[in-house]
């Protein structure tokens, strides 16, 4: 199915969860609690259709066709 990720079209498998998407994009393995499996900080957050999805909910949140997802992280700034 097709979603929008950070403003551009993005294809994910049907039934993919937020965890699947974050793992795919960041290349990190995630535990079901939304933390990185390697124990390091992940440092990203997800908004789906303008609602923040807490990382504890990533695993149980299924993406739907047409979802608008923002995946953000810390960058240099004031």
């Amino acid at each position: 199915m097709n979603i929008t990720l950070n403003g551009t079209a993005h294809a994910v498998d049907d039934g993919a969860s937020v965890t699947t998407l974050v793992s795919q994009v960041t290349g990190r393995n995630l535990a079901p609690n939304g933390q990185a499996a390697d124990g390091q900080k992940l440092g990203v957050a997800v908004a789906r259709n303008s609602e923040v999805v807490p990382r504890s909910q990533w695993f149980v949140t299924a993406l739907a066709e047409g979802d608008d997802v923002e995946l953000v992280t810390a960058v240099q700034g004031g």
């Binding site: 994009v25 900080k41 440092g43 957050a45 953000v72 992280t73 810390a74 960058v75």
Partner: protein, 272 residues
């Protein structure tokens, strides 16, 4: 001190004796740095270490797989606390959303609230700032409010529950220093939360002045990251903040109209 934790190990003995306490956390340095404008992560890391900072701002932006190295990881590695900002937000709605994302991503409820009016001045939009402060405090955030050098607005933000108020010295990135020292002194004299001079700092003497005016800390980014030698400038600011703080505590002499000799006139030799 009860209920406080000591953050970071970078503080010198001088700094440790006089911690900057905010939201119950004791920081060893009164210099808060931003990370914007640095050409490379390596150079930024060196400048941050030289500055002795224990709290550093970051912005929240779209994740890009192409980015090499993680700023967040750099800060974690150096034991520097992270203060996410809402830079680039023009409305309370955007600022609240950005703060929520930052809290999720970085696992901190501290936020530097920045709601600007337009890109030309980058000055805070007072109406949106007040609205966003109220919303964020209600959502459990610790709000470090970037504000105009307006004593009335600063007090309003404090009354709404801001954890710290951060008046600007002059517009962001200008390096014009503190344009209205009188207002900064007024803000300090009425505040019961920490006052952090934020924005407009150009060089070390500006930071020293902020501390002499009674500010609890200084926040700056461009002055270090865009200096010709960022690490050296970082170190300069480290000393400036300490010097200004000491001068404030020591009590300066009053200004006077006419000269006052420091050598006694009595007992001079006489030449015939």
């Amino acid at each position: 001190m009860a209920g406080t934790t000591v953050a970071g190990a970078a503080g010198t003995a001088q700094q440790a004796a006089d911690p900057f306490i905010v939201d119950g956390v004791a920081l060893g340095s009164r210099l808060i740095t931003g990370t914007g404008g640095a050409p490379s992560l390596d150079g930024l890391g060196a400048a941050l270490i030289a500055s002795g900072t224990e709290l550093t701002t970051v912005a929240m932006r779209r994740y890009s797989p192409a980015e090499t190295g993680s700023l967040f990881q750099l800060l974690v590695d150096h034991n520097i606390r992270v203060l996410p900002n809402t830079a680039g937000c023009f409305t309370a709605r955007d600022a609240v959303m950005t703060a929520e994302l930052a809290r999720e991503a970085l696992e901190t409820d501290w936020v530097k609230l920045e709601v600007i009016a337009d890109e030309h001045t980058l000055l805070p939009d007072a109406v949106e700032l007040v609205d966003a402060t109220e919303q964020l405090v209600n959502r459990g955030f610790k709000v470090f409010a970037y504000t105009n050098d307006d004593p009335v607005l600063a007090l309003r933000l404090e009354n709404l529950g801001a954890t710290a108020v951060m008046p600007l010295g002059s517009p962001i990135g200008t390096g014009l220093g503190i344009l209205n020292p009188h207002n900064i002194e007024l803000i300090v004299s009425r505040a019961s939360v920490p006052v952090v001079l934020d924005a407009g700092i150009g060089t070390a003497s500006d930071a020293a002045l902020a501390m002499e005016l009674g500010c609890d800390a200084v926040l700056l980014a461009t002055a270090v990251t865009r200096a010709q030698n960022p690490a050296m400038m970082g170190e300069a600011f480290k000393h400036a903040v300490i010097a200004g703080r000491l001068a404030r505590a020591a009590g300066r002499i009053p200004r006077r109209e006419h000269a006052l000799a420091s050598s006694a006139m009595e007992g001079r030799a006489e030449f015939l």
